[in-house]
């Protein structure tokens, strides 16, 4: 366990969450008619659990992707854009193939899922080339990824479907699939980062790229790999988000609604640890799910306020706790001497 829950900080996060839930449970059982009773009923209900799982998938998966990019030294703040582009591409390709049809024996909805991953990976590849080969400012390029996707996805939806929202496919990917993917991706990410040679190279590329270069490992290759992985994982998250409903919603901030940014908050909160990122993602998604249920029960909880909680939390954590250590060379370009 020492390695799985690496820091005291992640441990206290877990213990704290369990303690709050425990208190709530006791209070709810003791006073079933009170607000605590309602709250307990919501928190421990199956529907809250499934909607938490659904909402957590894009946050956790994009957050895991963000870890790979940032550990390698490239800060990818374009995760939001990767989620948007994959959400749209998955629905578009699934409708193109047709729900009842299959391509190479793969059912249409899963072809769409893969297409979402491909779209996100391709966009992250462009981002990587711009940042690593052309040494563009990573923050500006990341914002560009977001803004391009934010404009492009509703536009293409309008072109192909006549509106910013696509029609519903009439089929979806169940929450069990996305939950399994989240669990698998979290464990695989943890293993890759902590146990493989590639994980060590990623870390070295983000901390002291010259050290990696002098032992004969190409820094830019490692960084490209990190960025592409952020694309793959965000693609899984974006596809899972859209296909869990069977529709792409392109109005306003699109259906992604800042989950890519919450993902950055989640991995910072989790201190670049996939397990911690999972915990933070589930926590933020859970708050959102509870808030929605409270609205439905008639409590006037301002949703916009609840949605700011992750950002407030990350500022408090970064400023006061200060345990999150950003990789030394993150955001810096590296030029090999040879």
């Amino acid at each position: 366990m020492r390695n799985v829950i690496q820091s005291d900080y992640v441990r206290s996060l877990v213990v704290g969450t369990v303690a709050v839930l425990g208190l709530l449970g006791v209070a709810g059982l003791a006073f079933p008619e009170s607000v605590a009773g309602d709250l307990a009923g919501i928190v421990f209900s199956a529907s809250t659990a499934t909607s938490t799982a659904r909402l957590a998938a894009p946050i956790v998966l994009a957050g895991l992707g963000g870890i790979f990019a940032e550990k390698s030294g490239v800060i990818n703040i374009g995760l939001e854009g990767l989620l948007i582009i994959s959400a749209f591409a998955s629905v578009y390709v699934a409708s193109l193939v047709g729900i009842g049809n299959a391509l190479f024996g793969i059912p249409g909805i899963w072809v769409g899922f893969l297409a979402g991953i491909a779209a996100s990976t391709a966009l992250s590849g462009v981002f990587g080339i711009v940042c690593i080969e052309f040494k563009a400012d990573q923050i500006i390029a990341g914002l560009a990824v977001w803004l391009i996707a934010l404009g492009l996805a509703p536009f293409m939806s309008t072109v192909f479907f006549g509106g910013v929202n696509t029609p519903n496919l009439g089929a979806n990917v169940g929450w069990r699939y996305s939950t399994a993917m989240v669990a698998l991706a979290t464990l695989a990410s943890w293993w890759t980062l902590n146990r493989t040679a590639f994980g060590k190279h990623l870390r070295a590329a983000g901390e002291n790229p010259q050290a990696l270069d002098t032992v004969g490992v190409s820094v830019s290759r490692v960084r490209h790999a990190g960025v592409l992985l952020s694309g793959v994982l965000s693609g899984v998250g974006g596809s899972a988000l859209a296909l869990s409903i069977g529709q792409f919603v392109g109005s306003g901030e699109t259906m992604v609604q800042g989950k890519g940014f919450i993902a950055i908050v989640a991995y910072l909160f989790g201190n670049y640890n996939p397990i911690g990122t999972l915990g933070a993602g589930v926590l933020f998604a859970g708050l959102d799910a509870v808030q929605v249920r409270l609205q439905q029960l008639g409590y006037a909880v301002p949703d916009t306020l609840v949605q700011t909680i992750p950002y407030v939390v990350v500022i408090v954590v970064l400023a006061l706790v200060g345990r999150t250590r950003i990789p030394e060379a993150a955001g810096e370009h590296y030029e090999t001497e040879e």
Partner: protein, 540 residues
Amino acid sequence: MNPAVHLDGITKRFPGVVANDDVDLTVERGSVHALLGENGAGKTTLMNVLYGLYEPTEGTVVLDGEPQSFDSPRDAIDAGVGMIHQHFMLVDPMTVWENVVLGNEPKAWGGLRVDKTAARDAVTELSERYGFDVDPDATIADISVGEQQRVEILKALYRGADVLIMDEPTAVLTPQEVEELYGVFEELTDQGKTIIFISHKLGEALSAADDITVLRDGLNVGTVSAADVTREDLAEMMVGREVLMEPAASPQPPGDSVLEVTGLCVDDDRGVEAVSDLSFELRAGEVLGVAGVDGNGQSQLVEAVTGLREAASGEIRYRGESILGTTRRERIDGGMAFVPEDRHERGLVMSYDLTENGILGSQHDPPFARGGRLDWRASRDHAESVIEQYDVRPPDAEATAESLSGGNQQKFIVGREFERDPDLVVAMHPTRGVDIGSTEFLHDRLLDLRAEGKAVLLVSSKLDEVQGLSDRLAVMHEGSFSGVVDPATVTEEEIGLLMAGEPLDDDSVERAAVHGDADPTDGGPDEDPMDGTAGEGVDA
């Protein structure tokens, strides 16, 4: 038996510069070889050729009798050459073993995991074989600099290095760690490894090396055995026997005290004392030259005087008033001109044109600043006058500083500073990179300033320069003056001794003192800058 390393007629040219000129170097297996020379002598370039970072323009690298052709450091590593850089190439938050095996990790499960046990065992085994005493599980950030250096050596050994190149290995170490490093050298050579280290410190080369090769201006001055050579010989080889300029006698006696330094101690970036209890006085119309091998505290002394670094203790008085705690701007406004050591870092803003660079330091003052805006016409006129007087080429005030050659950049800086109408000029290596003709001109200007009654603190590693221009010549060694002598009578051998930190016998000191006393208008006794009492007899 073939020598471990043989460099055969290595010439390395960069555009406009010959960094190495037909250098031969032979290093025997199992020996420690020091590559000694001043900054810019071509030591690092030569080692970069051996390490495969640069391809030589001419010449061959021969390892153990086999001619080599390296395209990259990777080839050199494969051929058994390991480089330990001055700035360690370690990943701070990773452990010792992770750093040692980085890029060559032993793998298990078909590459799915790093074989930690095998890696740790390999590191422990190497560490024990050479008596390194490094904990493989320690995090780099938590261990001392000396241990980090041993991790770097382990990295090279793990990759099968037979020849270890170390760039200024003692630069970052404490004296105790230096002793330990010498012990490490012994362990390594006992087991057949060959060590080449780059240094500009004489004592280090003498105590740690078997053989010493001295480079100067890209040329191999000679290879000597450490056992048969003295510090003085080495100092002379490094600095070179150069034609002595006839010192120009001062036209007037020195005037009032301009700069008084008493008991000054200054720390370097690592917190190690670089200037130790230094005292001297500089008077108007006088040039005090500071000679010495680079890195003996000259930079820190100059930084403390000019306000770029805080003094740890002691006192600096400028025109009678303490200037400790005053800002850089206050010192500039007070008439202190400064020609910095590093023209790129501190002399110029490389992307500015010469008009803009010409007013740096005077940007608050008329005629350049008027009512909250800059007068570009006046600035341009000023830049053009500096360009004309100091023969800066191309003569274009709109050219950016980076488009000029190093020598022309230097001329422009010196011109800007000299034309400030200063009371005190602090000049560090004022003619570095400048051609001979312009050097003479700058020297003449410096003597003109002296004639106008300015005080000049001149720090230079060019012996002929400090000797030719100074009224008094101080030689700096390990943070203090090992002697202050009369440049007119001192011999090169004596300077060599002082540079090596050996005090002269009374006779030579006497001569310097006599020279000072011979000054007709100087009423008081000449203060000996060595004894820390300078200034006490002077009414500020």
